[in-house]
Amino acid sequence: MQKRTLLDGQKFQITIKRLCHQLIENHNDFSNTVLIGIQPRGSYFADRVKHELSEVLKKSVIQKGNLDITFFRDDFRRKDGIVSANSNTIDFIIEGKNVILIDDVLWTGRTIRAALDALLAYGRPAKVELLVLIDRRFSRHVPIEPDYIGLQVDTLVSQQVRVSWKETEGEDKVILISESNK
């Protein structure tokens, strides 16, 4: 198994800062915009984005929720066993709001498709945008593209992209894992 670091240290921090500034360009003071992290790993990223935005905007009331997509997945009954669910915490109304969906890695796009479906159960947002830290490009199964991208990478199906966070794993880092020595 080979591991290659795609993003870490200062570059990782700069990437997140850049994404936050791009968000501010489009959403001003976030008075009508909310952040929704996709459970489980997207919610860590959303926490970080919220933290950075609060520092830049000197504002602490940016709304952030977590969305679980387990019951909306399209692979239910198509594989062995099921993925256990996570909690939904959306304590605000998304009707008429701009929603930034946040996930760590965009690959086939199926998670985002399910997330769009799950999001509708909470109301009809004015607009939904997608923010991802890593875009594994040219590997989509559905026509979904991100609006904000931390880093685009070219990967093989057999490879895995793993994002770790300081809060949970002790280090901000993105690695690419390749099986065997191909």
């Binding site: 019951f71 062995d80 099921i82 993925v83 256990s84 669910a85 939904n88 479906d117 109301g123």
Partner: protein
């Protein structure tokens, strides 16, 4: 993201499932409780599944609860009540069910007056079977929702003391509850007149008590059962009035206990017999919470079983 699954393809009784299964069902039910409290109470998980609810015995709560659970998972639902069907023309159980299955049904939720009807069916047909009560044998989803309700109120089931009061002899709720609570680490006692306590029930590891006050002082939770007159072929006690005096729970008894206990009832309630109105409607009663939780627990059962299909 742990991938988990149940150890069984059917839910015929609590006897056939293990503690992990029960905990997986309760945890999944937690998430479904979140779903049914949203504005849009529906998820698309079971949209390619057809479920037949086959009830050979009367039911209000269980039938409605299953139907709501199925619909909130987006399954297609067909209902069948034996009283208005060809069963009254002499059709056998297997024939009835096979005919329903010929219409491409994936799961069968069945209530039947005979113990073991679910087991019998599971050996002869391909669909997954969920037992919604078979005679005086088991009623697994009721036991699961009771455990879920206790866990919700008291934080945990393990280490808690639960007394089941009333007609234990004819009760499928009692058997399933005893097995489920014990698997989750609770202590169980049964209480009622000698004639309504099955012989050798101690072999299940439960305590037996004939004095209601003593039983209530021992427990954290009291599950009051209905006297199932429809199943009683002989007289087991002199009169309902005497039963109510000896084993009926009223507000005075409840207030005089050393501690505050929780009162449960699987329904339907016979007010004034096993439980008085002021107890049924009191703060300590979680009867309506049980009903609400029933939908979430049944969604969890259907969802987890559907995931087994291959």
């Amino acid at each position: 993201m742990a991938v988990e699954k149940l150890s069984t393809r059917h839910l015929l009784g609590i006897k056939d499932i293990n503690r992990n299964d029960i905990e997986l069902i309760l945890e999944t039910a937690d998430h479904f409780k979140g779903v049914i409290n949203r504005t849009i109470k529906k998820v698309p998980s079971l949209r390619d599944i057809t479920i037949a609810n086959i009830f050979f015995e009367n039911s209000t709560r269980t039938k409605l609860s299953f139907e709501l659970a199925e619909k909130r998972l987006s399954a297609d639902v067909v209902n069948f009540a034996a009283s208005s069907s060809s069963v009254s023309k002499g059709e056998t159980l297997i024939d009835t069910v096979n005919n329903i299955l010929a219409m491409k049904v994936d799961m069968v939720v069945m209530r039947h007056p005979y113990a073991g009807a679910g087991q019998f069916l599971s050996k002869h047909i391909k669909a997954q079977i969920i037992n919604a009560g078979d005679g005086a044998h088991e009623h697994p989803t009721q036991a699961l929702l009771d455990a879920f309700s206790i866990r919700q109120r008291l934080g945990d089931v393990a280490g808690k003391k639960v007394v089941i009061v009333g007609d234990i002899l004819h009760s499928r709720v009692a058997i399933s509850n005893i097995l489920c609570l014990q698997k989750l680490g609770a202590e169980v006692m049964v209480c009622g007149p000698t004639t309504l306590i099955p012989k050798h029930i101690e072999s299940l590891g439960v305590k037996v008590e004939h004095n209601l006050i003593k039983a209530l002082n021992w427990c954290d939770v009291a599950n009051m059962l209905r006297i199932q007159l429809e199943r009683q072929d002989i007289k087991y006690f002199p009169s309902l009035r005497e039963y109510a005096m000896m084993y009926g729970l009223n507000k005075q008894i409840l207030d005089n206990l050393d501690k505050e206990i929780i009162v449960m009832h699987p329904g339907p309630i016979n007010r004034g017999v096993e439980i008085t109105s002021d107890v049924a409607d009191s703060k300590q009663s979680i009867i309506l919470e049980q009903v609400e939780n029933g939908v979430a627990v049944r969604m969890a059962v259907l969802y987890l079983l559907a995931a087994q299909n291959d």
